[in-house]
Each structure stands twice: as structure tokens, then as C-alpha cells.
Amino acid sequence: MIARARYLLLTSARTRTPLAPLAITVFWVFGTFFYPNNEVGGTWGQTGVTCCALAAWLVGAILAGEPAAQAEMATTAVGGLRGRLGLEGLLVLMVAPLLALPFLGWPLLLHAFGQANVFKPPALPGDVAGAALVHICSGILGGAVAVLFAPPRITRRATATAAVLASLLVLAGLGTLAGPIAAAQAISDAPRGTVNGSELWACLTCLALAAAAFTAAAVWSRRAA
């Protein structure tokens, strides 16, 4: 597991492709929390949805930054297509908390350094826990969508980008039924300082959709490769 994580980190650090989504993430965090008196649930609901799209972009960018030949040699080293999907799953699990961290950590850091009005009223531990769940689960779903349309399933970059965007729109279309919008709605409506059932349910739907995306990716790999 550690060897695989190190391989992914090395690949990510040695390509330029992840720079754009990382830069956008930084600016999004600064932009969101530049203004004071943010409403806790609404703000973190919005950044949770953003996390889904950013995770899709970042995972797609990292996978696109690994040349096909390098990916093929690594795939054989990890035992074939199943090992490859495991590697991609690990990437998603690394990216989702990485993206959640600045959205949660930055406002808390500002608060700790004396900017008391980042949130009004201030965020409670329960709010942070709920927000962490929403961001990570949305991120996992976004990353899974990117994996679904990554090579060898789709090799043309433009087609993959279009497919990811279309999928994100479909997820948004699910509204409050399931997925990141449902998670955002749940965190916005949750009573202060709690993680309620709606949040947990919405997060579960995100994870279920992500699992469906991975299953589809596994089936598609067998046919497309």
C-alpha cells in the first residue's frame, strides 16, 4: 500500500498536469473564505460540491500525466488490470482528503489566528465532522468518475473531459436524491453542531455511486483494453 502510494505521489509530483486543479483549489479556498460572516452549512455545502468536481479534475489530471508506456509497465508490475484499478482507487482515496483539507482547515486556521468572524455563528466540532464527511465522500465520487473515463477505457483526452463533465452534470441533476448536491443540501439543513441522518445518507449515496463507477470501470477495462 505504501509502495503504491509512493508511486502515485512520485508520478503526481513529476508531471505538470495536476498544477491547474491544485491552483484552482487554492484560489477557490481563498476566494470563499476571503469574505467574513459565512454561514457554516451553506458554505461547506457549496465547497463540498466543488470538491467533487475538483477531485474529478485532479484525479483525471494525475492519470493523464502518467505516460501510457509508464502506466503499462506499472500495471504489469502490480499484476494486471485488477491491480491497476486498485492503484487508481488508492489515488482517489488520497485525493479526496487532500482536497477536503484546505476547505476545512483554512477557515479553522483563520479562526485560530484571531479572525473570529470567518463563520457566523462559529463552526462547532459537529459541523466540522459533517463537513469532513461531505467533502471526502463528494471527493471520492468525483475521483471515481475520473477513473471511469481514464485510459485504457477512454484514451482521447477531449472525449474523457467531455464524459467527466457530462457525468458531473448528471450527478448534479440527481439533485437532493443522491450525490454531492444531496450532501450539500443535507449539511445546509443540518442542525448546528450535529451530523444527522440526512448527511450520513447523502454521503452513503456518494459512496454507493463511487462504488458503481469503479465496478463499471472494472467491467469496461476488461472490454476496452
Binding site: 508511486y7 513529476r14 508506456a69 509508464q70 506499472a74
Partner: protein, 238 residues
């Protein structure tokens, strides 16, 4: 015991079936040359055998690990070969190797391992990838045109490695490889030819007779086994 056994394998590239009814057995020490015209399905077959693609039909059994080196080796531009070699080694769950010494032995300047991959030539990257594959000591090496980017010294080095290495299955248009078997791909079919002479051993023990047909390179071991089991070897025919 074969390291790779394929029976009635169907290989597809996208929706197109490129090979049908491929029967293939590769044993330890074999060097199998996959020959055929451009587009005959050589790379597709190697990809299936490497686990990068699933066969459309048939059975495929592989024992042990495999290493694959594609025709055009490409690493992320800023990635240093030394970093990649270490990462691949860890991915395989193997211990560290002195890559500088290994590079020297292969004729590659060790200093090149610390430069970004983008600054290395095709042949250098090819040699780096071959180094990784050979040092992984897999049961099966799958090499797509491994000689194409190598200079004369590099070709000699690789030939020497293949002669004493694990089982290898490779494509080669340069005619450099000295194979033990050849698979000729043509019109979607695959016809294997053994390039190693077959020997028939006749032996007897207490009125019982046996006849074993083996490859020349395996005959010593078989003869030794028969003699140790108390058989009298009557004759060996080519």
C-alpha cells in the same frame, strides 16, 4: 512446468479480432520470438499475455510474475530514471538494487539515471526499462521490439541477458534475437515453430521400455533423471 500456457486464445484490438486459436506454451529459459508483419497482432498478443488486456476467448494461465517493456518507452518528463526504478522495485515488493552499478554493467552511464527522463534518448530509456524488467527477475519477460532503440553494445548486452535470463517472449524486426522458438502470426492465426532440436530418448528397465521426446536443452536433466531412477538409456535420436 510452463510459466505461460495459452489455449485457443482469441485476441482483439478494440472491436476487431486480430488473432484466433493461439496455442502457446512457454517454459523457463525459453526465448520465444513473435514474428509477423506490421498489424498482424504481435503487440496485441503481448499486451494480453502481460495482463494489460483480457483475451476475448480461450484460456490463459501464467505462473509467477511478469515484466513488460513496451516498444516506445516513455516516462513522465520530469521523472528521474533512478526515482522510477526505485518506485517500480517497491511496487513489485522487492528490495533495493544498486542501480548505478547495474547501469554500468549494461553500458549505460550511471549519471544519466539522475537526469530527467525528458533529457534521455529513446535508446537510453529503453535500456532503463530493460534494466528494471531484468532485475525484477520475473518468471516471464514480455518485450515489444526491445532491440529497436539499442546500439550494437546494447543489443549484445540484451542478447546475453536473454540467453541466461527468465523465459522471454518478444517481438523483433531487427533480427538480433537468438530464439528457441518462433511464433509466426499471419492472417489472424499463429503457427509455432520450435527452433531447438527435439531428441527422443529410448530407455529400458527390467523389461519395461519408455520413449521420451524432449527439447535438446532439457535433455541433460531428463537423462539424469532416468539414470538416477535406474533406467538404462539405450539410445538418443535427433
Amino acid at each position: 512446468m510452463p510459466v505461460l500456457a495459452a489455449h485457443a486464445l482469441t485476441v482483439a484490438r478494440g472491436r476487431r479480432i486480430v488473432l484466433r486459436d493461439v496455442d502457446l506454451t512457454v517454459r523457463a529459459g525459453d526465448v520465444v520470438h513473435v514474428a509477423g508483419a506490421n498489424g498482424s497482432g504481435k503487440t496485441s498478443l503481448l499486451r494480453v499475455l502481460a495482463g494489460l488486456a483480457r483475451p476475448r476467448g480461450g484460456e490463459l494461465h501464467r505462473t509467477g510474475t511478469a515484466a513488460f517493456v513496451p516498444e516506445h518507452v516513455l516516462l513522465a518528463p520530469a521523472l528521474r530514471p533512478l526515482e522510477w526504478l526505485g518506485a517500480m522495485r517497491r511496487l513489485r515488493g522487492l528490495g533495493a538494487v544498486d542501480w548505478r552499478a547495474a547501469a554500468s554493467e549494461s553500458g549505460l552511464d550511471p549519471a544519466k539515471l539522475e537526469r530527467p527522463a525528458a533529457s534521455l534518448s529513446k535508446g537510453m530509456l529503453q535500456r532503463v526499462a530493460l534494466l528494471e524488467a531484468l532485475h525484477a527477475k520475473p518468471a516471464l519477460l514480455l518485450l515489444d521490439e526491445p532491440f529497436s532503440g539499442l546500439d550494437t553494445a546494447g543489443r549484445d548486452w540484451l542478447n546475453a541477458q536473454l540467453a541466461h535470463g527468465p523465459a522471454a517472449l518478444l517481438t523483433d524486426h531487427s533480427g538480433t534475437v537468438a530464439p528457441t522458438e518462433r511464433l509466426r502470426l499471419s492472417d489472424g492465426r499463429c503457427s509455432p515453430t520450435s527452433l531447438v532440436a527435439l531428441l527422443t530418448i529410448h530407455a529400458s528397465r527390467e523389461g519395461e521400455r519408455v520413449e521420451r521426446t524432449v527439447r535438446e536443452n532439457e535433455s541433460d536433466a531428463v537423462l539424469r533423471g532416468l539414470l538416477e531412477a535406474g533406467w538404462h538409456v539405450e539410445r538418443v535420436e535427433r
